[in-house]
Symmetry: C2
Subunit: 405 residues, 2 copies
């Protein structure tokens, strides 16, 4: 039994009401992902930022691990499908399974993923307006993190999502389309929107080289002479600039409602080139997805595909779902960037930015020191999450002509 | 495996350095207690406030439950002793078992408590300056929450603690002294300080009736005519004022170094009468203990009993360990009070303040609605934890003559 304890209080209130953040029932988020005791990945990277933004976050841990896998040693327990289902049932019986938003991340095997799938179906049945961000954590750069039989299950879950945040590799795995150029990216996005009925797709780290020649000039990164002093131009392996521009592309695609009527393009695509901070940081995708969900404005019409039965009046042009997605993505990118910058600066002070396999092999503990030094500085940078002054945010631009051959 | 993901960044930093909180290695806290998916008890009540205060908090979950026991339904998994030990070992192997402060709370059975005991011994051996707050969660008001064989283990662990935060009932169980008056309280405190070598003892909710006639007049609560308008004088069962004053006593006792030299009293005792907020809130003790640890100033001489080998120069009078304890307790009480006030106000708006067993029995779901409404408003009141302006804090007074017959 978890103890419940009564406690005394003292004196008179010293706060005024305006000290406190406003909260409504829809501000409750259910987060289902990994837990690590030390460091910031999975729920440890997602929950605190959302709490700082004013959300009550309910937390279900799919694993209880010591630390992330970047350290030589790591491990702990995985929550079984039966344990997950029992937790969900107990929450339902207690009347506390009431999220307005749902965030799912790392789930280690297909059985557990199946339990989460059942939960999502139940929540959507009870609340058609549930805002569900599905981060289909499968792998990265050709390496798969989860059991292979998770992939078909993720495909089944896609139609339940309001937003998905796959990386480049996960788009390839989910759609079975190798991404080599603009036409293949178009085909993959088409499949996600049309076959899998996902209204909003955000891909946050696309290698710029794949699309460089297809990008409109106004979306290209600035040339070196246009760069602000202080921007780093080295990456982990110190490739010369002309060989690989240190930029990635982030794109957000929000489905349009009128394509079946012979109208405009399937979706509106927004994009932004983002400078690469050198080195490898863990938990960044988890942080980004959480911030994206936290910044997404909630309206009835953006939580399901247009082909679903309409349940809300049409939005005014300035409040379209597209602008909601671009708005949320811009702000999530901006806050993620500021935390990464702070983390990189702190790691630089400790001289922990470079990854040198040879030195690591020679000196035991060196890799773990570097990993520790590169844990996200969420606590030290927490003011970023509370920031409500949006003047500094770079807005994403519409990728005009994305769907045109 | 927990995935590690690289992520792009965007634009230039928009923060200035003074936006970020300062942090040092000693700011890292290891918290070992319960986890609930919904609501705020155990780690969910402790971790977020400490993070808001600027601490990196490492989190080991002793249970993973759905919600607290006040709801009709609750449950989940308990972390076994083997699982706890494995987590601690993996953290050690990864070089991330490096807390400057340790907080332990609810641990459901003696085997798990034994694993935590071993960890504390290891941490103290590695770092004699470890600041350890032990909340000996055993029970409350005559009811025991944990396995009975936890009690002797807690007694073995007491000498390792810097601060303990037992409630009235837990002091009775640990010392085997029924607390009925001032002499029995004196005997119990003497045992905790001298036999169990605990340098700092904080008891936060002492029924005032037990000690009313023994308190110096300057420690007594104000008479009704002195009270500020708005202070509530009803409690859950609406007892008239003259029958049971709605106040509790909080006391903090910090051992003195010179009693063996024939000098002053064994400890300096501080006290404060605190008005009782009506009704029952869960997780308040967990929040209070976390805030107490977070506010405690760290010096070498306050982490062990004076009878231990001295390892630090003596402190200047204005930085004595006593003032550290009174300072931390005052601030923890103040912040806890503000959160409780906000929670009570929110529950009042929902008409959820009273506990009416008959109505609960007649209407299913009523109790759970009340429980939900009375979950601590940590998110909505988070500015309280970041507050650095201490003007409004009521300082505890020294209980002069506590040790005199």
């Amino acid at each position: 039994m978890v103890p419940t304890t009564a406690m005394p209080i003292q004196g008179q209130p010293t706060h005024t009401n305006d000290m406190f953040l406003a909260a409504t029932p829809s501000d409750r988020i259910l987060s289902i992902q990994s837990h690590v005791s030390f460091g910031y990945v999975g729920g440890k990277a997602a929950v605190f930022p959302l709490q700082c933004m004013g959300y009550d976050v309910d937390v279900v841990n799919t694993v209880n691990f010591s630390n992330h896998s970047g350290y030589g040693d790591f491990g702990g327990t995985r929550t079984t499908a039966e344990e997950l289902t029992r937790l969900f049932n107990l929450m339902e019986q207690s009347g506390v399974l009431i999220p307005g938003r749902l965030l799912t991340g790392y789930i280690p095997n297909a059985d557990s993923l199946g339990a989460v799938h059942e939960l999502v179906q139940k929540l959507k049945t009870a609340n058609a307006n549930l805002l569900y961000l599905l981060d289909p954590v499968i792998g990265d750069a050709g390496k798969v993190y989860v059991a292979e039989n998770c992939v078909p299950l993720y495909r089944q879950m896609l139609p339940l999502a309001t937003i998905i945040t796959p990386n480049w590799f996960e788009v390839e795995v989910l759609t079975e389309i190798p991404l080599i150029d603009l036409p293949s990216l178009r085909a993959a996005l088409h499949k996600l929107h049309k076959i899998y009925q996902v209204p909003n797709v955000v891909i946050s780290s696309i290698p710029l080289t794949k699309l460089f020649t297809s990008l409109p000039s106004y979306l290209l990164p600035p040339t070196p002479t246009q760069l602000t002093p202080g921007t780093s131009f080295t990456n982990e392996i110190n490739k010369p600039l002309d060989e690989e521009p240190p930029y990635l592309l982030c794109m957000a695609s929000s489905i349009n409602g009128d394509d079946d009527l012979g109208g405009g393009p399937l979706s509106t695509v927004y994009a932004s080139c983002v400078p690469l901070i050198p080195g490898y940081f863990s938990g960044v995708g988890d942080l980004f997805s959480a911030l994206l969900l936290g910044h997404f404005k909630l309206t009835q019409s953006v939580v399901s595909c247009p082909s679903s039965p309409p349940s809300a009046p049409p939005l005014s042009p300035d409040l379209s779902s597209q602008s909601f997605l671009a708005h949320a993505t811009s702000h999530a990118l901006s806050k993620t960037h500021d935390i990464l910058t702070l983390t990189h600066e702190s790691a630089s002070l400790l001289d922990l930015t470079s990854s040198d396999d040879e030195l690591d092999a020679r000196e035991p503990g060196r890799m773990n020191r570097r990993m520790k030094g590169r844990e996200l500085r969420l606590i030290q940078g927490q003011e970023v999450f509370r920031r409500k002054d949006w003047d500094g945010v770079k807005r994403m631009a519409t990728w005009e002509g994305f769907w045109k051959d």
